[in-house]
């Protein structure tokens, strides 16, 4: 057990525990706050993977924007927040069964696949992942088209969200 593995196990365990709280808590505000904890855990996993930029973007975009949006949505639909009825529908066991089967199938697939225990190569010294990422996102020979399509998608989503949620009265 290297320290790296111990840190990964702690982070992964905390992330999965808070993920379970997200799907089981009754109070939706608490579920949204547990989602913040889960997102921080995933950002820590990105940091362990040497993807610092992705980890920062995860915190800025997910924790800073999406989780806050969830909390606003829960507060705007407050009447159902402490709904006295059950929080899970009557077919929740089928959902649980399907989730367990999905997990089992994925674990089976990953285990039957050899060459997964190999260690990652060291990052070459002087390699700057962020500048490489920026170059590839704006280079016509690489990913400039998906990048532009993503920006058009964000614009369309913004216009659509304003249109759908606009109060005409």
């Amino acid at each position: 057990m290297t320290p790296e593995k111990i840190i990964f196990l702690i982070v992964a365990g905390a992330t999965l525990a808070s993920g379970l709280m997200v799907v089981t808590t009754r109070n939706l505000i608490h579920a949204a706050l547990w989602l913040v904890a889960t997102l921080f855990g995933v950002a820590a996993v990105f940091a362990i993977l040497n993807a610092g930029f992705i980890a920062v973007v995860q915190i800025v975009v997910y924790v800073g924007a999406i989780a806050i949006l969830f909390i606003f949505a829960v507060m705007l639909t407050r009447k159902d927040m402490r709904d006295s009825g059950p929080q899970h529908n009557k077919n929740w066991w089928a959902g649980a069964l399907l989730a367990v089967m999905t997990f089992g199938g994925l674990v089976f697939l990953v285990q039957s696949w050899a060459s997964l225990s190999k260690a990652a190569a060291d990052i070459p010294s002087g390699f700057d992942a962020v500048s490489q990422l920026g170059n590839q996102l704006t280079s016509p020979n690489a990913y400039v088209l998906p990048f532009e399509v993503a920006s058009v998608l964000l614009l369309a989503a913004m216009v659509g969200a304003v249109y759908v949620a606009f109060n005409r009265k």
């Binding site: 990964f8 799907v23 969830f70 949505a73 989730a99 285990q111 989503a157």
Partner: protein, 102 residues
């Protein structure tokens, strides 16, 4: 060094938790919370494969960035729909929204 399969097991577990949340919750906002968990687990896979492959090929990180953008778009439109439905029908329970069922 952590083996790649640990990341894959972690993301499979997170995906299954999100799938359970999306399938079993009654509140529409909680269903969107489950979908966010699933999108996050996909990102873990993408970045892990970038790290364990050729690090000079940035495709994994580029895809992760695009998944961020898609998740932001999805959640903004989804929550706008939830708020609009709440304003008209006064409920966000997914089972009560059966206008299209006959």
């Amino acid at each position: 060094m952590i083996p790649l399969s640990w990341y894959l097991f972690f993301s499979a577990a997170l995906f299954s938790i999100g799938l359970f949340g999306a399938l079993s919750r009654r509140n529409a906002v909680a269903i969107l919370l489950g979908i966010e968990l699933m999108l996050n687990s996909v990102n873990v896979n993408l970045v892990a494969f970038w790290r364990y492959g050729d690090v000079s090929m940035m495709a994994g990180q580029v895809f992760a960035i695009i998944v961020f953008a898609v998740a932001a778009a999805e959640v903004s439109v989804g929550l706008a729909l939830v708020i609009s439905v709440y304003r008209r029908r006064n409920t966000v329970i997914a089972e009560d929204l059966d206008m299209l069922k006959w």
